[in-house]
């Protein structure tokens, strides 16, 4: 497999008013082309920091990150991003919000607008494309944010706790939809979460992270078959993975048993 993202001994030290903060220390990992990897860990372990470094928004203080073989000096091409908050712009309709990724890079063509419409259609937002964000529920808004990230057909999708603010049912829905679109067009996905079950359900591999300083402690392959129906979460294999990961976090003193 070809490495799409290579992280080599990357570290990140933030300067702050109370002195330097080591957010990330000596992180190394490869993500293969088309792979779905989760970054799993408690809050403050540097998940967002690592994602920002991969996106080229922050430069690592040490080590290096390569995307498709090229050392980063700013955001690489073909990146899609989804955040915990949907960051939809209130003054734009849902369709215009989705189109903004294209507008940032130039003027959207008729084909791009068609693509935005069909994406919204696919995510069940066809009837809402001319509404404004505040008229939609949290789940619908986050769907629109995913459409926006997918508009320019990114090769790498970075998602920072995208479903963290949603209720459990909406979250399940979006987990299923995300696996479905990922299955259809195998993009590389790096997905941040602090839910063990979510990480196991979605991922090919789960990178477990820990605090003090932020680092990757273990990378767990998830060999569950695909496609994965939601009911896979009730199988013993699924439970075995969850128990294994929770056990490792417990041994690190991160979760209590």
């Amino acid at each position: 497999m070809v490495a799409c993202v290579e992280i080599r001994a990357a570290g990140k030290i933030y300067g702050s008013a109370r002195g330097p903060v080591t957010a990330l220390a000596d992180v190394s990992m490869d993500v293969a082309e088309g792979e779905f990897v989760s970054l799993l860990g408690p809050s403050g372990c540097g998940k967002s920091t690592l994602l920002k470094c991969i996106s080229g928004l922050e430069a690592p203080s040490g080590g290096e990150i390569r995307v498709r073989g090229e050392r980063l000096s700013g955001p690489p091409k073909g990146l899609g991003m989804v955040f915990q908050r949907d960051v939809l712009l209130d003054w734009r309709t849902i369709l215009q919000n989705v189109l903004i990724t294209a507008e940032f890079q130039g003027r959207p063509t008729a084909a791009t607008i068609d693509r935005a419409r069909s994406l919204l259609e696919r995510f069940g937002l066809g009837d809402f494309q001319n509404r404004h964000p505040w008229e939609l529920s949290g789940g619908m808004r986050q769907r629109a944010a995913i459409c926006r990230a997918l508009l320019c057909e990114p090769e790498i999708l970075l998602m920072d706790e995208p479903f963290g603010a949603l209720d459990a049912m909406t979250r399940d829905d979006l987990n299923v939809e995300l696996t479905r679109i990922w299955q259809a067009a195998r993009r590389t996905v790096i997905f941040v979460t602090h839910s063990i079950a979510e990480a196991v359900y979605l991922s090919d591999r789960v990178a477990m992270m820990s605090t003090g300083p932020g680092r990757i402690v273990e990378i767990i392959p998830i060999d569950l078959p695909r496609p994965r129906p939601l009911s896979i979460r009730e199988t013993p294999e699924f439970a075995r993975h969850v128990t294994h990961i929770r056990g490792l976090f417990a041994a690190l003193g991160i979760v209590k048993e």
């Binding site: 080229g56 955001p75 991003m81 955040f83 908050r85 960051v87 712009l89 209130d90 990724t101 507008e103």
Partner: protein, 263 residues
Amino acid sequence: MMGMWSGSAGLRGTLAVLIAVIGGWEGAVWVFQPPIIILPPPSRIWVDFLEAPSYFLRHTWYTTSTTLAGFALSVVLGVGLAVLIVNSRLLERIIYTVLVALNSLPKVALAPLFVIWMGTGIEPKIAIAVMLAIFSIVVDTVLGLRSVDPDAIALARVNHASPLKILIKIRFPNALPSLFVGMKIAISFALVGAIVGEFVAGSAGLGFVILTAQGQFDTSRVFVALVLLGVLGTLLFYIVEAVERLVLPWHVSQRAVAGHGGH
């Protein structure tokens, strides 16, 4: 529904208060009979206006155009300065210091200087209106340009948006509600500036009318000008607010009014 109901109730309330004040004033003058030079009754003020409506309206128009010119210039210059301020720490320090220093000077004291520099035409009046109005525009626009969700900027940068695109597509629309807050304050200040300018030197405008009438001890005419000034200020304010409602139907403060709230 809600907005319309409270709107017409508000209008009725305002009218009731206005009628009560005018009626009370008329009654009080009738009872206490103060010298007309101290306090003329509203009926006399109305009659004085009707004696020379074109005179008063011509001067009202002069003040209006000075105010609007000063206001427009403040918006253009103020937004420009705000963009410079948010783009450079150095410029921020320089511009802010100058603005704060200027703003702390009493503008009335500066007015004669403007007359020396620019003569007795409309220019110094516009300049004084700008001096008074620009501060709130700059301060509120800077606030609006700055209070952008960092994730929105991150999104733009990941998509290789140029700084100009970020300004046009994110920062500026995001600053509009705040800019309108500043504009609602600025329109009143621009009017004050116009009057200050007309007080210092001039041969037109409501400020000039007040000065002339005062010279002739014609208190009633002073009141005509004051009432026109009040009406003008109120109208200008509500025009800005109406424009705000047109431009910002998406903003939280406007949703109930614009009728998007019914979900």
